[in-house]
């Protein structure tokens, strides 16, 4: 039914289409593809009755029973017509079990088309863009830009009027929210309203485009397309210590107005095309930030296959605007991509893998060697040790990177080891840590798992951020610090992963060469638990006596160590314990073998603390020694290996393109060169359409990731082509495109429409007005803090994680590493994006799933949104901050508060009725600060505050 509606809607937009000539691509193809191509299209594996309707030659030839599906000019002789109109359910097509039936109008379209000769024309997106002459319009004064000529021409054809221009206050609010994701300040609004020069708005646009916060807003748009996240998802939800570098690269690129073709090339093949360019290398982070299923017992090759799948699907959706993904299991049913061609695209990426580099650009290790490391854990220990010894280079490498003692792996400590200011922070952290241990809810040792992470999060945060402290003997501070880190590091457990793997497999007591042999019971640390130590069976808190000093706790016996620590009573005792532990750590001989590997593996598993990210490597694409052999996989299943294929591009969209003379380490460069070429039919159109959607809420093509046959057709095809060509001519400059769009009358219309217009153009496909739309989750978050005056506009860096309470974390299997309240004030684009746990406020406001490329976010209305804005503690806290600001700026004059509040929140003057209402509200509540806070909360809960209009 939805296709029926969609095609009717489209038909209604094609004036007189039915009366005049049927256009195959516009009118017929959508009907055939939605209803017939599943069984009678390109995909040979599901083809029924050997009938293929997508090729004219075949559709007009007799079938085995002698009937001819389509007889041009003679609908009544065409089997297709008799089948779609058959009374008999068994005869009738499409068959009853299909979700959709053909509508009368669709049947008529097919009849008329056959009557008119059943001509096949190319799908619009595969036809080269043409620069159409600017259409003539009757009201050239309105049409101030080329864009307006296309829009107005169409409106005049339909005898519709564009909405009047928006007010200046509306306009600057629209432009500022649009480009920066933040509301304009009262000062900016005042200046623009007062500026009577003809280029006043152009100056505003220039100012906004020059702001570094533009990149945060438009970069976030791109991060949707790039399915960006900071973790891999699934149970392990591997934390990506490197993802933020790609995020920052995106923001920087938008701010720099990096030519978009270059931006594309860098992401696909920055390493191949621009060697030595740090930013270009980071750009391939696009491909190292996808979902990862990495758990024990996986089928060999699955990880690589998943990565190749993600690479091809993301590339297709993001840059080419085609659903390559559909061709993984079978030939694409609608678009010209065969299953073979899909795997040829995988072969393009099969020469590459994800590699880790240090910040200074040195290759540290790659996933292949890490996997080898993991394998080692799974083999006998003796053999593992021998293997490592036979590979001294790698061992040295790991040692150097990971360090011997923990002091080496934590730059925080390394850099600030003598920074005595931190002493106090640590003292306070210890208090938190004690509390964490004592809030044991179940009364048994299993609870340690629950209490530990919170405590160490607070501790780490405190460590990092507290600044005021009395001086302390430097060496003691250093020991203390090392002790704390040692305490927190789950890998202090000597059994660790290696022992666990062995124990799990063989169910034996501690491994032969374990330092812990004889020191205590062994216990398992399965990989699937993210490395969290688990206590020995039957262990109880207090099993280790308080009298036991840290010196006596065997180095690395993590569990016993914690139990001892927990049992200590005074803070001084705890302090001494940690100092002793630190001394022991530093004095300890450089560990042998597996300890370093454990650290490396833990790094890989992403269980290192969030704060340690700066020490984490950069993960980007580089080349394998040998490209992976790429097979066609039957039904997309790794068990069904088919033919081996080499790299290639789909023939239809890249005719004649060959990889014959392209070396393996230039495959992505070739792909990038083709995608980001001025000649490419799709790329520039896809990009300008995205930009249009980012400005207006809807694109000219309303399926931004699908320009194929099943996607929607452009509402203004000539305009789309004009924009694409203008974009390329202006060096793929997005900022140029922003100016072109925003300076048009179309962008500057008011958000009004009378009922007659709404009836004729309900979805604003004709652009009769500016269609208002709700702000995205991040904009709401930022707007609230912006008007409250509590937004920290610091750019870039590690993700932040605003603290969440227990209920907000329902469903979260791993820990949420809460940031400090100060950090939580940063813009929403910096908030940690986990794939297996969605930040609750954003979840309510339609955050994309970040699993596959998202071209357009849903905008839904659900009561969770109202509940969030009414009752989330952050809202009241921010309302109070906003109230403070208002009272301060009005010198406490209650009568001046509403007008000031309106200026900030809505960017306009307050109406008389509104003012009366607000004053009545304040007076009824006693007119104190609390009343103003409530007023501010009411404002946060208005539609006007969270709408772009």
């Amino acid at each position: 039914m939805k296709f029926l509606l969609a095609s009717l809607a489209l038909a209604s937009l094609a004036p007189s289409a039915l009366a005049e000539k049927i256009d195959f691509s516009r009118d017929v193809l959508p009907v055939l593809s939605a209803n017939c191509f599943v069984c009678h299209g390109r995909d040979v594996s599901t083809r029924k009755a050997k009938l293929q309707l997508n090729v004219r030659e075949l559709a007009t030839s007799p079938l085995h029973d002698g009937t001819i599906p389509i007889v041009p000019g003679r609908p009544d002789d065409s089997e297709l017509v008799s089948r779609i109109t058959a009374e008999d359910e068994d005869e009738r097509m499409p068959p009853a079990k299909q979700a959709h039936r053909l509508a009368a109008a669709e049947i008529q379209t097919l009849r008329t088309w056959i009557e008119q000769g059943a001509e096949y024309t190319e799908h619009w997106a595969f036809v080269p863009p043409k620069r159409a002459p600017l259409p003539a319009v009757r009201d050239p004064a309105w049409a101030r830009s080329p864009i307006d000529r296309f829009i107005l021409h169409r409106l005049e054809q339909e005898k519709l009027q564009p909405a009047p221009g928006a007010s200046r206050e509306t306009l600057i609010r629209r432009a500022t929210l649009d480009l920066l994701g933040l509301p304009p300040t009262p000062g900016e609004i005042g200046a623009f309203v007062a500026d009577r020069s003809p280029d006043a708005f152009a100056k505003v646009i220039d100012r906004l485009l020059a702001s570094p916060h533009y990149g945060e807003r438009y970069g976030r748009h791109w991060l949707d397309v790039a399915r960006y996240a900071d973790s891999g998802g699934f149970e392990t939800d591997l934390f990506f210590g490197h993802a933020w570098r790609y995020r920052d690269y995106v923001i920087r690129s938008f701010n720099a107005d990096k030519p978009f073709d270059r931006f594309i090339k860098e992401q696909i093949a920055g390493d191949e095309l621009y060697p030595g360019d740090e930013d270009a290398r980071l750009a391939t982070g696009l491909y190292t930030t996808g979902p990862v299923l990495q758990e024990a017992g996986m089928v060999a090759g699955k990880l690589e296959y998943d990565q190749l799948t993600d690479a091809v699907d993301t590339t297709g959706a993001a840059f080419v605007g085609l659903t390559f993904a559909c061709a993984r299991c079978h030939d694409h049913k609608y678009d010209p991509i065969s299953q073979r061609e899909y795997y040829q695209l995988q072969a393009v990426f099969a020469a590459s893998d994800q590699f880790d580099y240090s910040e200074d650009g040195e290759k540290i290790r790659d996933r292949a060697s890490l996997r080898a490391t993991l394998k080692e854990f799974e083999t006998e220990q003796a053999r593992s040790r021998a293997l490592r010894e036979s590979d001294p280079a790698r061992r040295t490498d790991l040692l150097r990177k990971m360090g011997g003692a923990y002091i080496e792996i934590d730059p925080l400590i390394k850099t600030h080891v003598d920074n005595s200011r931190r002493y106090d922070a640590i003292r306070r952290a210890i208090t938190y840590y004690c509390r964490g241990v004592t809030t044991d809810r179940r009364g048994d040792v299993l609870a340690e798992k629950d209490s530990d992470p919170n405590a160490d999060t607070v501790l780490k945060a405190d460590l990092k951020h507290a600044l005021d402290a009395p001086p302390l003997e430097p060496s003691e501070a250093a020991f203390l610090k090392v002790g704390v880190v040692a305490m927190l590091n789950p890998m202090m457990d000597p059994q660790g992963l290696k022992g666990a793997m062995a124990a799990r497999r063989r169910r034996v007591a501690p491994a032969e060469d374990s330092p812990a042999k004889g020191a205590g019971p062994a216990y398992a640390v399965p990989v699937s638990d993210g490395g969290t130590p688990r206590p020995p069976p039957g262990a109880k808190i207090g099993a280790v006596t308080p009298a036991q000093s840290s010196a006596k706790v065997r180095a690395g016996d993590g569990f016993a160590m914690r139990q001892t620590f927990a049992a200590l009573k005074t803070e001084d005792e705890k302090l001494q314990f940690l100092i002793g532990l630190g001394r022991q750590q530093i004095d300890r001989p450089k560990p042998e073998g597996y300890v370093e590997d454990l650290a490396a593996l833990q790094l890989e598993l992403g269980t290192l603390h969030l704060d340690d990210m700066s020490s984490l490597p950069v993960r980007v694409l580089d080349h394998r020694e040998q490209p992976l052999e790429t097979h066609i996989m039957g039904r997309g299943e790794i068990e069904n290996l088919g033919d081996v294929v080499g790299p290639g591009l789909p023939e239809k969209i890249a005719p004649g393109f060959t990889f014959a003379n392209i070396p393996a380490e230039r495959r992505r460069a070739a792909l990038a060169g083709w995608i980001a070429s001025d000649q490419n039919l799709l790329t520039a159109r896809v990009i300008v359409n995205r930009a249009w959607q980012w400005h207006f809420g809807d694109g000219l093509v309303r399926t931004p990731n699908d320009f194929g046959v099943r996607g929607e057709r452009p509402t203004h095809p000539e305009l789309l082509d004009w924009l694409a060509m203008d974009f390329v001519e202006h060096g793929w400059s997005l900022k140029h495109l922003h100016r072109v769009i925003m300076e048009s009358a179309a962008y500057q219309m008011a958000a009004t429409a009378d009922p007659a217009v709404l009836e004729r153009d309900p979805d604003n496909r004709l652009l009769t007005r500016y269609q208002p739309h709700r702000l995205e989750a991040e904009m709401i978050w930022d707007s609230i803090r912006s008007v409250a005056g509590t937004l920290d506009l610091t750019l870039f860096g590690l993700p932040i994680a605003p603290p969440l309470d227990e209920q907000e974390q329902l469903g979260n299997y791993l820990k949420w590493p809460a940031s400090t309240p100060e950090e939580a004030r940063r813009r929403a684009v910096y908030i940690l994006v986990k794939r297996s746990f969605r930040f609750p406020m954003f979840n309510a406001f339609d955050l994309p799933d970040n699993i596959t490329s998202c071209g357009r976010r849903d905008i839904t209305t659900i009561p969770n949104q109202a509940l969030t804005l009414m009752n989330n503690p952050t809202m009241r806290e921010q309302a109070a901050a906003f109230a403070d600001r208002l009272l301060l700026e009005t010198n406490g004059q209650m009568a001046a508060v509403p007008a000031r509040a309106w200026r900030y929140a809505f960017g306009r003057g307050i109406g008389r009725d509104e003012r009366n209402e607000a004053m009545a509200f304040l007076n009824a509540r006693g007119g104190a600060k609390a009343a103003v806070t409530d007023l501010c909360l009411a404002i946060f809960n208005t539609n006007e505050f969270i709408y772009l209009q």
Partner: protein, 502 residues
């Protein structure tokens, strides 16, 4: 999508047919802008919203139509709501509902080669020794359905249970397997079963979420929030995690110190501003009206949600039945009792999760006997009580109760007493919702390694559940990335509904 059909309009007039007048037009003009949502609600209650069933394009565009409007099923339904009992970790089929005498006989030996090989997570089944089941089975009820002694109370309900012993899928790690069970796919990003059902049928509750999830009190579950996510469906179809005490639904409680009156005044002010705004912004009037209505719904939820979870309103007998005042049944009993209260209040899908997928709950790598006995003690009485209570309230006939883990376990041992993951054969059961109990469908091989008879892929299980709800899994589709997505992907051919209801 259901086919629109004619039905009497709100004032006894026939509603205009969609062909002659667009829905949007109808709503705008008949409902007159403001209150369209409220009117829709009235229509829904009268079962007359068919003509108004939203088009997907309306929903995704966030436009003005209530996407939760109750919709008629594709064909007459047996069940109206679902309580899905998920035992996270993967209970053993051999210790629960799939007796394997041959396995017991072969215990201690290597698995005969004839059974072949399966991938497991940690062990190689061809190298480990077969592990017998120490828990006795008993033929129960009139039907003689065998149920193990781990579930003594459920044994009393044997004639209500239809046990399906031939379930299988392809994911042998916890989180992908949990996604299989709840979304039909082992990958991330797909809508949950509850989301699909609500998308198909809409909601009948005015003031509670359509999909409610209750985890263990610590809120941890390996698959995380995607297990009740909306995936690519609009956010309105996301499940709401519910706590059994304190604030039942996130942000549903007013902050400390804020009275209902005080909040109402704040809301009145914002609603007044909202209404003025909606009049000015005519291009989005309906969407803005829907937002205004959503605030009223949210406001009502603040009363309705705490009421729904307040089991203090239940009689002492009922509380005792579920074991909510005793260990180890307290947690799960409370959730089962709340599940009944939710279904009573029109919640469409209740997803009740026991455990997180750890060895401390249903993941019995260490000891299948001890683990099963320990966990069953927590859920046996509550589940039996739920069936008794639903029946007593007359709700069992229209409430489908499903019991499932994310996979089964190997017949071979892991470490002597435990069992490894095994998605090649596992058992689920269904009760209520038109299902006739006292039978076992399908079978695993003689040792329980893999499903061999009437094989039920998870897609088939979902097709069956949809079928019982009156939904055709072929027709319940949503266009995403150029493809008509289904809960059952390209599977679901083995719809067992017909065999379950006779």
């Amino acid at each position: 999508m259901p086919h629109p059909h004619r039905c009497p309009g709100p004032f006894g007039r026939p509603a205009p047919s969609p062909a002659s007048l667009s829905r949007r037009h109808w709503i705008t003009n008949v409902a007159g802008g403001m209150g369209a949502w409220a009117l829709l609600s009235l229509l829904e209650r009268d079962g007359c919203a068919a003509a108004l069933a939203p088009a997907i394009s309306d929903i995704t565009a966030g436009r003005r139509i209530n996407p939760l409007a109750a919709k008629p099923p594709h064909f007459p339904a047996k069940a109206k709501s679902v309580i899905f009992l998920m035992m996270a970790g993967g209970p053993s089929q051999m210790e629960t509902f799939d007796p394997k005498p041959v396995l017991n006989r072969l215990a201690g030996q290597r698995m005969p080669d004839s059974f072949g090989k399966i991938p497991a997570q940690f062990t190689d089944v061809t190298k480990e020794l077969l592990l017998g089941c120490k828990i006795p089975f008993r033929a129960c009820g009139q039907s003689g359905l065998p149920i193990s002694a781990a579930f003594p109370q459920l044994q009393q309900h044997a004639d209500k249970l239809a046990v399906i012993r031939s379930c299988h899928h392809d994911a042998f790690n916890h989180s992908p397997a949990q996604y299989e069970i709840m979304t039909g796919m082992s990958r991330l990003g797909y809508p949950s079963l509850g989301a699909w059902i609500t998308y198909g049928l809409g909601s009948v509750s005015d003031n509670l979420p359509a999909i409610v999830v209750m985890t263990d009190p610590d809120g941890k579950i390996k698959g995380g929030t995607p297990l009740w996510g909306n995936g690519f469906l609009p956010a309105i179809y996301q499940g709401a995690p519910l706590q059994t005490q304190g604030t039942p639904i996130l942000y549903v409680n007013r902050e400390a110190g804020v009275t209902a009156d005080s909040q109402r005044q704040v809301l009145d002010l914002s609603q007044s501003l909202n209404q003025r705004h909606a009049r000015n912004i005519s291009a989005a009037a309906q969407e803005l009206d829907a937002r205004i209505a959503s605030y009223e719904l949210a406001y009502r939820m603040q009363t309705a949600a705490p009421e729904a979870v307040d089991i203090n309103r239940e009689s002492p007998e009922t509380r005792k039945l579920y074991g909510v005042d005793a260990e180890p049944t307290r947690d799960f009993g409370t959730r089962c009792l709340i599940a009944r209260r939710l279904v009573e209040r029109g919640v469409r899908f209740v997803q009740l999760i026991s455990g997180s997928g750890d060895t401390k709950d249903w993941d019995h790598h260490d000891d299948a006997y001890e683990g099963t006995m320990r966990q069953a003690k927590k859920v046996d009485q509550p589940i039996a009580a739920l069936l008794t209570d639903l029946e007593k309230c007359g709700l069992l006939e229209e409430t489908l109760v499903v019991w499932s883990g994310e996979f089964g376990r190997t017949p071979t041992s892991q470490g002597g007493k435990g069992r490894d993951h095994n998605p090649n054969g596992y058992t689920i059961w269904m009760a209520g919702g038109g299902v006739k109990g006292g039978k076992a469908i399908g079978a695993t091989d003689e040792i329980g390694l893999r499903a061999v008879e009437d094989k039920m892929h998870v897609n088939d299980t979902h097709a069956t559940i949809l079928s019982l709800l009156g939904l055709d899994h072929h027709k319940l589709t949503y266009l995403f990335q150029g493809r008509e997505m289904r809960l059952t992907d390209v599977g679901g051919q083995n719809d067992l509904a017909r065999r379950l209801i006779v």
